[in-house]
Symmetry: D3
Subunit: 142 residues, 6 copies
């Protein structure tokens, strides 16, 4: 997933921008193939949105010092569970959490805890998304 | 904040229940004085709600293995920021996060990241709650 | 609170409309003085909004057969608790619930149950609104 | 649906706990086969979550005196409609409402009223979930 | 789509009511065939809900002077994107926006801007709904 | 409000960045003094958040062609009304809407329309914020 070889990078005039490059590498590190798929899926409708996710989301925010990537992904899984309307993004970030070293058990604990703050339905729907991702990756909680 | 000496414990028939005791000690560890205040504030209107926060929230959920308290508080700060309607609880858990070793910078990074998932207004309002808690405790980000 | 004597009715060309009259009487029955205050507060900024609350909210919806007023107010207290951003309206409808025969205990039980569906913060903030209304009316749960 | 014969009860060390037993019987009374299905669906991913739904949700909250089961289900249908992101749980509780004696018309009236508090889209999507449940059970509003 | 020839109008005692007629014509102007489909879909479950959408939604609100239809549809697309739980209604109103002269680019810009206020997931899910509607109509942003 | 003379610009290493400069001028054009106040209020707690609002919010998004500023502000007022938890930001953007030529009546119509999509409480609370802003500026709907 090198930015020089992938379609959004090639077609994007911002390609040589350091924010774009930093964001692209961070996105690849965190979300891997799933992140690439989100970026690709935007090319036909709103390619600049893909660029903002890379530049602002991953180049600016996820690249900041002060909070390690494991904690960032735990925070994101918690928030997407609590919001309730973001199942596709939650699945991407459950992949992301596992990619950066959060354990399957930690993902499940984070989601279960959300029952306290956002209610059981939000936590249940997130657990069912989690089960799909775990099945796809062949992992399971300890 | 020993359960034997504090009002909710004394007036509560569940006092000797091990879930209640475990929850009480976990609540004291995490939320300290601010947690006590929430419990006290419920005595006149819904004392069983205080009991459920202690038993289910802290005895069942926060006492689970599999996710350390630092990560649990980062998840909670993320979720309460994203929900947007829970400023009093967010302030309690910013205290809680700092109590269990999350740094002021990590709290701010967690909140800032929420701009990506819940929008800038939710993140801004959480930062203003954060500023209040930091002022009260005399801490500041590095 | 006869519509003929109150400002919104007098200044409103819809006054003789049967939907408006039915709505006005239903609003008076349910929300009493607090409902009147909401209607009055809209006169300087959006008087037609007051008219729609009366005509559509109370003339069309609350006047429908098929669900008694007690159940309607329990449903409304539940929803406003769960939404989290509607404390002023929740206070009006806690008054409304008590006005149509919901007991203080039933109001509190309805709110506490919302911890399951919308999380503890939403339920806690609603309980604190409830405490204010109960204090104002001098009532308390059994 | 006796707890002694069903898988979650058998595999669960909490089986003899009175809270668990009370919760299990209340869940069976309210949500019946649909509740069983939710509990079963959690066994592979987060079995303790199933236990908390039984113990806290149904053993603690739904078993409380002070609000009858019909009113509790009306409150839940209202809240799940208003939240908007909980269609699977809404369908379970439309079954639950009908199981404890709420009429089909009362379910529809509760949902329609939510247009006032959470907007028409939330109410419409809930009505479409309602139509599915009614079709499955072969019931219809009067 | 004349109200005299279409099922909801024929079966509805409110058919000759001027609010109903005004609303019906406004709904036809804005949402066209998609609006008709929503109205039809409610006939078997809650026909009065269809009537309220026509009378209150389109007869009262969308028929008001003071804000042109283009601006009204931009506001609606923005709100449905931000709410996150209303994809079917968002698709209807993307059709509606295009019907009243909002350009495909303006629809996309409105949705993209929501990333600032409701977060990237809400904006992304709305863009994917947008892509479906654009494909159905054979339009694309400039 | 020239970026060369105001504190965030001076203390900010990004000052000469064209995105920052474009964003700063756009923020000044749209939100004026109220926008400046938001930026200033972040200096003690999260100055980079202020920079992101300027660079991403106003430099990237609000500076895009394809949707005029009047429409952008109508979309923002609609979304902040619908979200319900963002009253401070809504007040800033009611100022912003009026600054770029949206009339007071158009602001009110946009907010009232949100009753359809987010419910009456969200619309009412926004109208009360609107009344404050109108009073502060000495304007009123026609």
């Amino acid at each position: 997933m090198d930015p020089a070889n992938s379609s959004p990078a090639n077609s994007n005039p911002a390609y040589n921008d350091p924010r774009y490059q930093a964001g692209w590498h961070k996105l690849a590190e965190v979300d891997g193939e799933q992140g690439q798929r989100v970026i690709d899926s935007l090319q036909g409708i709103a390619p600049d949105m893909a660029r903002y996710i890379i530049e602002f989301g991953f180049g600016d925010i996820y690249s900041r010092p002060g909070l390690d990537l494991r904690s960032r992904e735990i925070a994101t899984v918690a928030a997407l569970t609590a919001l309730g309307h973001a199942q596709p993004q939650l699945r991407v970030h459950i992949h992301g959490a596992l990619n950066v070293g959060v354990t399957p058990t930690e993902v499940i604990e984070t989601i279960m805890q959300m029952a306290l703050y956002a209610g059981f339905p939000a936590a249940l729907n997130a657990l069912f998304s989690c089960r799909e991702v775990f099945a796809e990756r062949g992992v399971s909680p300890a």
